[in-house]
Amino acid sequence: MKPANAPPMIDPGLARSLARRQFLHRAGLGFGGLALGAMLGRDGFGAEAARGRILDGRPQFAPKAKSVIWLFMRGGVSHMESFDPKPALNRYAGKSIAETPHADVLDPERRKRVRVVVVNDANGQQRHTIYPLQTGYRPYGKSGIEVSDWFPHIGSCIDDIAVIRSMWTTDDNHGAQVQFHSGRHMLDPKSPTIGAWVNYGLGTLNENLPQFISMGPRFFDTRDGHYLGPAYDAVKLKVDPKNPLDYAKPEGRLSDEEQRLGFSLVNRLNRLTVDRYPGDAALEARIRSYELAYRMQTAVPDTIRFDTESEETRRLYGLDREETRPFGEQLLAARRFAERGVRFIQIMHGDGAAGAWDQHSKLKEKHAELAMQVDRPIAGLLKDLKQRGLLDQTLVVFGTEFGRTPGSQGADGRDHHPYGFSVWMAGGGVKGGIVHGATDELGFHAVESPHYVTDLHATLLRQMGLHAHHLEVPGHKRLERDFGEVIQEIV
């Protein structure tokens, strides 16, 4: 190993990338960052870094949550038929919006925050004929919060949930998916997503696992780190113990014993090289990365192997039913990752470029079918976390890129609706059984406590013990809106 008297020396190229990421002396970051961070701290480089505002991989103040399970419904869930029931739609069904007492919702002045990427008749239009609710709704729990009949299981957990009915965004098309994660419109330069910021701001709690995991389909932007660098991209996983992540298993004939022997030779030779290149931070980081890789190979498949889970748990997540199994498996894996200290688990639901929840037509049939796929597993996750005492430290977020129009599109669909939509949070110190914010009677505009998507990010970061404003890197200016504001009422 490194001679004790070798001076602490950092290659400037590496120091540059380190300084840029400000992760110099953190206790651990997971992956290469961990290796570098731990080593640099040992080398005393941290003292220098500590003069600046450096994130040390630990929360900046007492956190409520340790992990986030981020559920994102791709395509645009109808807020009126999920968590923001609007009986007025039944009352005015078939009338034009102008004929209702709420004609003012169409006031162009009130709609101008939308930034149109392309004018498109097929979508992103306001639809003027009120379309009645396609499902019923009823109150749940002690709080009596109303939830649509498509989500009865989530309804049964409502006393643990804070529903936010007053979200808004600015993209009227599916670029809003990226915007929901990054806070930036599709026409803006790409910027890091909320998962990347958490990854950047916090150290890992488990050196054997990636700390930012993504499951499920993505389309418009498959990266997260952007100017933070590829080390902050989510690690894409599949719930397949045989092949959970790229290159997790040899793509050729190589027995476990041979592989172990190979890894140990690499390790031994690399350590012998330290004398040739004293003070080579990259070399030491690479040694650590190989050690981590070897452990990850085992730890990741072990985490997504469910044989130790009881029948009851499996049922809870809907693993016994065809329609709920794929999503249920991802959620069960998410719980197991969260349990092991993974910071951010991002699960996308709904295939296709635009996303499955994009019901320009056949809303009733398709939304019911999609809700069926996620309702039981999500409720199962919440109940399971709760019974294990994990809900307090695990923040579960349910989001979608925008809502859908109160008016009908074609015979049986709704169009995109960025002016008002619903999301919810549960656990991680968020209040349960409350509704925050409101849309108007038609579900058109967020009128009470409106929140841009980054307010959700700021709230989440706060629960994780991070100040949104401290997440910044030189040379990449963030605007006030990028940071968002904590939704104080729900925490």
Partner: protein, 855 residues
């Protein structure tokens, strides 16, 4: 003489000394506090509008003296009276239209408190506080003058002469030259992106001779082409399904132009000219037109402003090191570039559009076509977008095309370029007619073959197909004749004929469609076909002159609502010359930026660190570099060598600075202490191979690399042995193995990341390519010396893979491994256990840090 201000500073210092004695709670704010707590805040938040760049309201805040003098509305602060001046009021008012900084977050309470305390303490002014420099005097905005090469050091290479002076100045003793084998590996990887073979490692020729040979290797263009593809944002097309939304199909033509230009050592000045204005310089030379792929890459279907914003931003960053993009919504905060400059720069690109030109022998644009730029809307006006919002153009004033005013003194005038007919009417090209005629004939022959083999109903269909093919051919001839005439003068007779033949072809198509629909229950299609038939018959009967000219190019759609038919088949007969003006200004000997930026990119890729840290921003945020004379000498030498990259590479790789050892082991302790960060290049610097170099090296060492040059991009997931730069690369398509090692970000990649993450370890351990190549490399090494014992094999493997001998401890580790592996059950059951172990050993060496590292 002491000014009153300085006196007040001394007074304040004295009062501080007194206050200090009385206890810290009475400490008054001092000039030192101003420098520490206030000036940096003013710098960050206020200087952009109240400094050397701009003096809004006549106010400058870049010195305390200036602050106290104030602007048009009087002093910003009155010493001792915090409420008297305008500064605190403007910082704290609730009126958002008044509060500074405008449209931004207010200063923090503690920052305001510090300012208040300082004013209350009499606003003590520090001595000798300097104003911000005139922005136009920024180092990189000065003309490049060739500095004198220092003569005191005995060295051949001016690079070393400049560095030696610094070494003497700082008392540094540079490292000696690296071991030859490691040096050759470095040279091979840097110049051709492939490691040397065992034979090449034993090459007895001189280092400079080998360097020269590598600089003339076709692989050199591939290696450096990939670097420039990073900088110029190469991306194959992508979109949604079949809809092209970004970049262009067949953009590989531009990639081939890059590689070929580098291999031919085309001057960088000429490369810039061709990329920005190839269509104006050589309008009928497809090999030059390829260069405008640089512009075609920025194509974006949905939003012209986004498209042009990308073009402006990356033209600025790539060639000039200027961040124009910061001046889109407001004047630049640091550089003397205002919004008017931004939109004047946009006006240069405003007329241009993109199209695919026909490639000889191909009439189907899905199969091939040449993406290129051309000026289409010659009179399109450019307006300033208020606050950067395209919905708020300032239509009162059209903006003329211009380069940034601060550097406009040497800009040539804009002069329109007359285009040859083959450029504005591609259908009149000789090969286009030949290709379309060949295609028409081919279809007839195909239909005839089909008819010959058909019987019954199929014969009717085949007959109709033949009729259609013949009608198409007749139409083609008529259209070509009419086109030819029309390009001189409209010929009514020919146009009528073309119109009639077009009608006949439409009729034949409708008849075929009807026939194909027989017996099928498709009302809608039937109706369409019947309508088409009626339309065709009407057209024939009408006998007018309306016909569709031969369409030989495909213009990229301006919006998704358009179709190919939205555009004429011919294009403007002139180009505005705006882009040629821009490019000529860029490569003018007087341009202070272009050569410096290019030289810096090349230097970074040979030395691991750039001379100017911010490779795409040479503006005022970039401090004068440590090695400014070296940079300027290289830039001047580069320009005066005819902008020859080959010359520049040769200079760099033959320098002592390049050839040094990279390790700091055995380094002079004083040197290590004086310059631990190696700012003065007293040793070489290790780097990680880029993703492409890594994969190509695996193939090369295995002898499996397919050296074929150029051609269409390969499917990103293809199992290919071609070099990595030929894989498709877009948002949606990335070669999986390459993407693990910080592959270029197609949106912006002026410098590759060098992350170190465990996924890379997994990819290099478990991928089919690393396992497969390990086996082939092992077999090759064994075949070269079948009699070698275990130790001998280890030695050869070290030399081939790491380009250095092993030491005793390393050999021992390998032999231990060998023994342990031989005892493993799976190895014992292998057909040739020794071969299996050799390949495992090679595999381990491929995972060695010093394989992925350029030492």
């Amino acid at each position: 003489m002491r000014s009153a201000r300085q006196q007040s500073w001394i007074d304040a210092a004295l009062s501080l000394a007194i206050a200090w004695g009385a206890g810290p709670c009475l400490a008054a704010s001092t000039a030192a506090d101003y420098l520490r707590d206030i000036k940096p805040v003013l710098h960050e938040r206020c200087y952009a509008c109240h400094g050397t760049l701009k003096q809004q309201g006549g106010l400058r805040l870049d010195t305390a003296e200036r602050l106290l003098v104030g602007g048009k509305s009087g002093p910003a602060a009155v010493p001792g009276k915090p409420e008297a001046g305008s500064l605190l009021h403007r910082l704290t008012t609730d009126d958002e239209h008044e509060r500074m900084p405008l449209e931004a977050a207010p200063l923090k309470p503690e920052q305001i408190a510090a300012i208040r305390a300082w004013i209350a303490a009499g606003a003590p002014v520090p001595p000798d506080e300097r104003e911000e420099d005139d922005p136009l005097r920024h180092w990189s905005f000065q003309r490049i003058e060739r500095p004198e090469v220092p003569t005191e050091a005995k060295t051949q290479n001016p690079i070393d002469a400049f560095l030696a002076r610094k070494h003497v100045e700082h008392g540094l003793s540079p490292q000696p030259e690296a071991e030859r084998s490691l040096l050759l590996r470095r040279l091979y990887l840097d110049l051709i992106g492939l490691p040397p073979t065992l034979e090449q490692l034993d090459d007895p020729r001189g280092y400079a001779t080998i360097a020269d040979e590598l600089l003339h290797s076709p692989h050199h263009g591939e290696r450096w082409g990939r670097h420039w593809m990073d900088v110029w944002r190469y991306s194959d097309w992508y979109g949604l399904g079949d809809q092209l939304r970004h970049s262009q199909k067949h953009l590989w033509h531009w990639r081939d132009w890059i590689v070929e230009s580098l291999n031919a050592d085309k001057g960088y000045d000429r490369m810039v000219l061709e990329m920005l204005a190839g269509d104006e310089l050589a309008p009928d030379d497809p090999s030059v037109l390829r260069a405008t792929g640089f512009l075609a890459r920025n194509y974006y279907l949905f939003n012209r402003t986004t498209w042009l914003d990308d073009t402006i931003e990356h033209t600025g960053k790539a060639f000039l090191g200027l961040t124009f993009n910061c001046a889109k919504c407001h004047d630049h905060k640091y550089d003397p570039i205002d919004m008017a400059d931004y939109y004047a720069f946009r006006a240069i690109f405003e007329p241009h559009q993109i199209r695919l030109d026909p490639v000889p022998g191909v009439v189907d644009f899905e199969k091939n076509g040449l993406p290129r730029a051309f000026d289409d809307h010659l009179d399109a006006a450019t307006y300033v977008h208020r606050r950067g919002d395209p919905a708020q153009p300032d239509e009162l004033k059209a903006i003329a095309p211009a380069v940034p005013a601060m550097l406009a003194s040497f800009a040539p005038p804009v002069e329109p370029v007359a285009l040859p007919r083959t450029a504005w009417a591609p259908a009149t090209r000789e090969h286009v007619r030949r290709d379309h005629r060949d295609e028409a004939r081919r279809r007839i022959e195909e239909a005839e073959r089909e008819l010959a083999q058909a019987s019954g109903t199929t014969a009717r269909v085949a007959g109709a197909k033949l009729a259609l093919a013949k009608a198409e051919q007749a139409k083609l001839e008529a259209v070509i004749a009419a086109d030819t005439a029309a390009l001189v003068a409209v010929d009514e007779v020919l146009a009528k004929a073309a119109s009639r033949f077009e009608g006949e072809a439409m009729k034949a198509k409708a008849e075929l469609d009807l026939l194909m629909l027989e017996g099928k229950d498709d009302e809608k299609k039937l109706e369409t076909a019947q309508e088409a038939l009626a339309k065709a018959e009407k057209k024939i009967a009408a006998g007018d002159t309306a016909y569709t000219p031969l369409r030989a190019a495909r213009k990229a759609l301006e919006t998704p609502e358009h179709t190919d038919e939205s555009y004429a088949a011919t294009f403007p007969r002139h180009s505005t010359g705006r882009r040629r003006m821009l490019a000529e200004w860029m490569v003018s000997r007087d341009n202070p930026l272009t050569a410096r930026v290019a030289v810096n990119h090349v230097w970074m890729r040979h030395f691991g660190e750039p001379l100017v840290e911010t490779v795409f921003d040479f503006g005022r945020q970039a401090p004068r570099p440590e090695h400014d004379e070296l940079l300027d000498w290289l830039a001047a030498e580069f320009m005066e060598s005819g902008w020859s990259f080959r010359h520049l590479h040769r200079l760099m790789v033959t320098s002592e600075a390049y050839r040094r050892r990279s390790t700091q082991a055995d380094a002079d302790p004083a040197t290590l202490a004086a310059d631990p960060a190696n700012r003065h290049y007293w040793r070489a610097r290790s780097r990680r191979m880029e993703s492409q170099a890594l994969r190509d090296s695996l193939l090369q060492l295995a002898g499996a690399l397919d050296p074929a040059l150029g051609g269409p991009s390969l499917d990103a997931k293809a199992d290919s042995s071609r070099r990595s730069l030929y894989f498709k690369q877009s948002r949606d398509e990335r070669a999986p193995f390459l993407s693990m090692f910080d592959d270029a970000d197609i949106l912006q990649c002026y410098r590759r990341d060098e992350s170190i993450v465990p996924q890379q370890a997994l990819a290099l351990s478990n991928s089919a390519i690393s396992l497969g190549m390990a086996e082939q490399i092992a077999a090759r090494l064994h075949a070269a010396d079948p009699a070698a014992d275990r130790g001998g094999f280890v030695e050869t493997a070290f030399r081939q893979i790491l380009a250095r001998p092993s030491d005793a401890a390393e050999r021992e580790a390998c032999l231990d491994f060998w023994e342990a592996a031989a005892a493993l059950e799976p190895v014992r059951q292998a057909t040739d256990p020794e071969a299996a172990i050799r390949s495992r050993l090679v595999h381990a060496l491929l995972n060695h840090n010093d394989f992925v590292t350029v030492r």
